[in-house]
Amino acid sequence: MHAEPETSFLANLNQNIRIVHGVCHAYFPRDAVEREDVFQDIMYQLWKSYPQFKWESKFSTWMYKVALNTAITHIRRSTRTPRNEELTEPTAHGPDINERMSREEELHLLHEAIATLTDIDKAIILLHLEDQNYDEIASITGLTRTNVSVRLVRIKQALKEYLQGNQ
């Protein structure tokens, strides 16, 4: 990649880099080494695919496709034994400690709940929580719009049950 495309790639990438971190965290919540490995893998695939990206979809949609494809296939290639680290306990700083603790604990619990889902359900809920609409979720996953909406109801129900059972 030449200097100019690299600059534009980096600018677009950095605007949406949260997507890659979100995918890595959803698929490898308990293993920081594996998370870093898949992060680099996604970056490499994005960099390789960027010259073919024609701006026919949103940059973020394209990024989700590449990131999810890479994360899901990375799972089957991985030869590492999962380390099953505990999810990082939330830490609190600042004046509103109680409020912040509670928010972080809730998010922590939600991450744990998402980790129990299947690979495809993880992708669907992650895309939904990141404000992708049904059509975008359908185009990224290859499911139909109806399937996405039906599955989302089931996934949310499963997450609620997990949260209720673990509170």
Partner: protein, 208 residues
């Protein structure tokens, strides 16, 4: 935690208070790319070497025996037959390995597939290679073992296989058994278990 429409709220409120990830610089990106290129090359070459190492040993053995026993017509024919049998298999294997590791995104102008098509493609490529490899193993392993047994007995055992059929058969069975057991372990690690994982993802996508 309130339970009305809280999943989205928990996510948004939690994420709003999380520190944003550090931006990636050009230097970071280049470091990632070069490390990945090395890793990709290593993975492919490791597999290629693992797949053809047995054949390299076989070719070396046949070439060495052919040169050493130049003039011995029976031995020469055995070695040449072994080589002629294996060369097409090696070529086919290398072609299939190249197809297996060629990523669809590398083709110029190809769009990024959705998750379903990506997983389906990965599954098809891996299953196709595994099917080819199984066929090749079933033909190649007994034939190469037979060549090794025939050449070894002709060279080192008085009377050859003709006068020691039971010992020849036992040696052949031992060699085939060892090869098949290591092939089975390798297949489980590189093909059976990854194919099962992909199948689960595909089933999950199809059963929605």
């Amino acid at each position: 935690m309130e339970r009305s429409n809280e999943i989205e709220n928990v996510w948004k409120e939690g994420k709003a208070h999380e520190e944003g990830p550090a931006p990636l610089t050009g230097k970071d990106l280049r470091a990632i790319i070069s490390s990945r290129v090395r890793k990709e090359f290593k993975t492919v070459s490791q597999f290629v070497w693992a797949a053809i190492v047995y054949q390299i040993i076989l070719y070396s053995f046949l070439t060495h025996t052919l040169i050493r026993h130049w003039g011995n017509v029976q031995m020469m024919l055995l070695c040449l037959a072994g080589g002629a049998f294996y060369i097409p298999l090696t070529v086919a294997l290398l072609r299939r390995v190249r197809t297996l590791y060629r990523r669809p995104s590398e083709a110029p102008g190809s769009p990024v597939p959705d998750v379903f098509h990506k997983v389906e493609g990965e599954y098809a490529r891996l299953a196709d290679f595994f099917h080819f490899k199984k066929r090749m193993d079933w033909i190649g392993v007994p034939v190469s073992c037979a060549i090794i047994v025939l050449v070894t007995f002709t060279l080192f055992v008085q009377g050859g296989v003709e006068r020691n059929p039971l010992a020849g058969l036992a040696f052949f069975a031992l060699w085939v058994g060892m090869s098949l057991s290591s092939i089975h372990a390798e297949n489980r690690k590189r093909f059976i278990s990854p194919l099962r994982n992909l199948e689960q993802v595909l089933d999950d996508l199809k059963n929605s």
